[in-house]
Symmetry: C2
Subunit: 311 residues, 2 copies
């Protein structure tokens, strides 16, 4: 009998797809409502897989979980309404751990919008946090992955690789006192969902880079039936300085930087760059269906490592 | 350091409450929307805690998970819009198990409304299904637990104890060939969310009996600041016949019958009973803050067994 581990993540997604509504596909699902749409997005975080007491204190676990969901809302052009929290806990979980996680969730919501509007609390062998976030977006402001046009430029809203470098610094400490390392650790533990960009994003195509910059580029190109040529990788300067030999890899595949990756006409990109610090053009949309970075083809993590996710 | 198991479920809920919005409380949270409200409800189901391959085939696990969430929508007077599914799986999970669960979810949605609009798929040590259901309800048709008035009668929409008896028949088979036992097993494996009642429920108070009839009565009375006197327990006739010595216990505390427990004026109750088969008056709302059943005080499972949930 074939197992999920043998089939791999992409195969499993193909098995599940026929059961899912057409609405599934972008960072969140869209439910039509009279004044626009309700956006719904779900993330499940598992102890030992998505977080660990070694690298993330409870407050950061809560913050990161909410930030990841709010980033999905930002990636759709939506603003947050609220979240539900399904928490699975072994009986030996310290109560202070639970308080820390909820305080982290609340602090993130207080900063960026929304509140905890529901949930469930159950016993399990593994600490698991299942969050569903709801947002709202005006129909003509919704951001999709589809629609990138040949000649559009590709814009990122900030540098990449910092979260992965911060994780490295936590896993293999060396120079923990350097203030630069503290900045990278903060990027890993307290990511910022880019909800601040919403007013500037009219008629753009895009998604967030939670699964890595390469993945975002591949997804946008695949959805839009185009390719991309990237010649100015947004490498975080501190990653370049301290982990120069890993900088390109982490920029493309590190993930969890939670920036937005956008396609838009060049004029519009210039306007965005003038208004929002940290945004930059990294390349442009091409006719080919391939994503080229510095002259080499890149594939998304889900294309190259599909068997690892469930292995 | 105090653990979750030592604190117990009620204590843990008290810890979490300050972090949650005022919206939390009934079977689902309400988000105001222009034409009424969006209702959101979340359930987490864990292998070995909420389901088991011994008692529930994968198709039934999917059906039950969706039915439980749709029942929460029915309990608020809402109709289903869609669900998100967060699925955590160990790599050794058979692919056929996943297919069965999704088929069960889809069959339940096809029957009662809504579709799978999003989700997440992650690796874990324990099979876990986290479902969030969204529904919509007109503001003046929303059903709350609060507002039951002295003199109202208490109505259930069907008999109780069948699901618990069905579980018993699965755990300790005796006479599996009796068609009556098959009816009880079906009640456990394929519960029916009472969405059919929505047209008849105007200005009523209530909730569903997913956590047991006693729990529903205690919750409604506590929320409304009243008591209840129950003198006609809705014992399922087959439970009375085959497990007579457990019939009262299972009717009050068995849970997962997914009927609605409602408070309304006596005239209105008579109208409902005339229109919908299976509905019956079981008692009435009183001034005391105690729920009396056949002359004895009952407490909800959460009041009496709070330390077992996380023990």
């Amino acid at each position: 009998m074939m197992t999920v581990g043998e089939l791999g993540e992409q195969g499993l997604l193909a098995v599940i797809k026929p059961y899912c509504s057409e609405l599934v596909g972008d960072d969140g699902a869209l439910l039509p409502s009279p004044q626009g749409s309700i956006v719904v997005t779900t993330d499940v975080l598992v102890d030992g897989v998505h977080f660990s007491d070694h690298t993330t204190p409870p407050h950061s676990i809560g913050w990161r979980a909410v930030a990841a969901n709010l980033s999905d809302l930002a990636a759709m052009g939506a603003s947050p309404l609220g979240i539900t929290v399904g928490l699975s806990l072994p009986p030996e979980t310290p109560v202070d751990w639970v308080k820390g996680v909820y305080q982290g969730m609340q602090d993130c919501l207080d900063r960026y919008g929304g509140s905890i509007i529901g949930g469930d609390l159950v016993r399990s062998k593994v600490r698991t946090l299942a969050i569903t976030a709801l947002g709202e977006v005006q129909s003509d402001r919704t951001i999709f992955r589809t629609g990138a046009k040949v000649g559009d430029v590709l814009v990122v809203t900030g540098p990449h690789g910092a979260s992965r470098a911060g994780l490295e610094a936590l896993l293999n400490p060396r120079n923990p006192d350097l203030p630069e390392v503290a900045i990278l650790i903060k990027a890993h533990q307290y990511p910022v969902p880019r909800l601040d960009l919403r007013p500037y994003l009219d008629k753009v195509v895009g998604m967030d880079s939670s699964d890595g910059l390469a993945d975002a580029l591949v997804q946008i190109c695949r959805a839009s039936g185009v390719g991309a040529r990237i010649d100015r990788l947004p490498i975080h300067p501190l990653v370049q300085e301290y982990w120069g030999d890993r900088a390109i890899e982490w920029t493309l595949y590190g993930g969890e930087d939670f920036e937005l990756v956008l396609a838009m006409p060049r004029d519009q990109a210039q306007g965005l760059i003038d208004q929002v610090a940290g945004c930059s053009v990294i390349g442009e949309v091409t006719e080919s269906s391939v994503v080229w970075v510095n002259g080499r083809e890149v594939r998304s993590i889900s294309q190259t490592q599909s068997f690892q996710h469930f292995g």
